[in-house]
């Protein structure tokens, strides 16, 4: 699974992207976020307040119950501020 991080989520985690292989029990976005938070202080800080974390699965916005699969591209980022 390819993970991408943007803006201050990228800065807190410390990398822009990574390939991960979460356990098979990680089936949804929620499972993935919970699993990521265990991976270290940066992840924990970046994902502490999920009300300001947005998720896209394969470049489409996804809700917390959206499924995730090994070939997916999952992006985590703050609410957008373009325009």
């Amino acid at each position: 699974m390819k993970l991408l991080y943007f803006a201050w989520i990228r800065e807190r985690i410390g990398i822009a992207e990574e390939e991960i292989s979460p356990p098979v029990s990680v089936r949804t976005v929620t499972d993935l976020l919970d699993w990521l938070k265990q991976r270290g202080r940066g992840y924990e800080q970046a994902l502490a307040d999920l009300s300001i974390v947005r998720v896209a699965v394969n470049q489409d916005y996804a809700k917390l119950d959206h499924p995730v699969a090994p070939d997916d591209e999952v992006a985590l980022f703050p609410p957008v501020t373009g325009g």
Partner: protein, 159 residues
Amino acid sequence: MIRIQQEDFDVGKELKGLVRGKHGIGGLCSFVGLVRDMADGERIGAMTLEHYPAMTEKAVEKIEADARARWPLKASLIIHRYGTLEPGDQIVLVITAAAHRQDAFEACHFLIDWLKTQAPFWKREETDSGPQWVAARDSDDRAAERWAQDRTDRDKVRG
């Protein structure tokens, strides 16, 4: 038509290019978003717009398609820049062309409201206390929600 680019754009040239060869256009609405040089009385420095390239194109194309499904547009154009921008620089351009002005205005307003809340861009401003990520504004969410509300009202009226 959409373009995600680092370079600046020329609004006059884009307006002319968009209407060329098209028929029945009576109204042309455009919006340009600029980097402000002042906000709440304080000077603003440069800003950097980060984005998620693979998603940006897809998301902006979807937003444009939504507008064209909702309003009878003769033409539309969205240009959004990324990278480092100075105060006064142009950030985003939205142009809509329609037979009637009401459609052009509403579609243009809708597009910029949705870009603000849907397009994956993040602004980081240079401030006196170092670089700072701009926080999303509730007023932007409310502005975007208004259009969802509008649709519901219309659907009701249409039965």
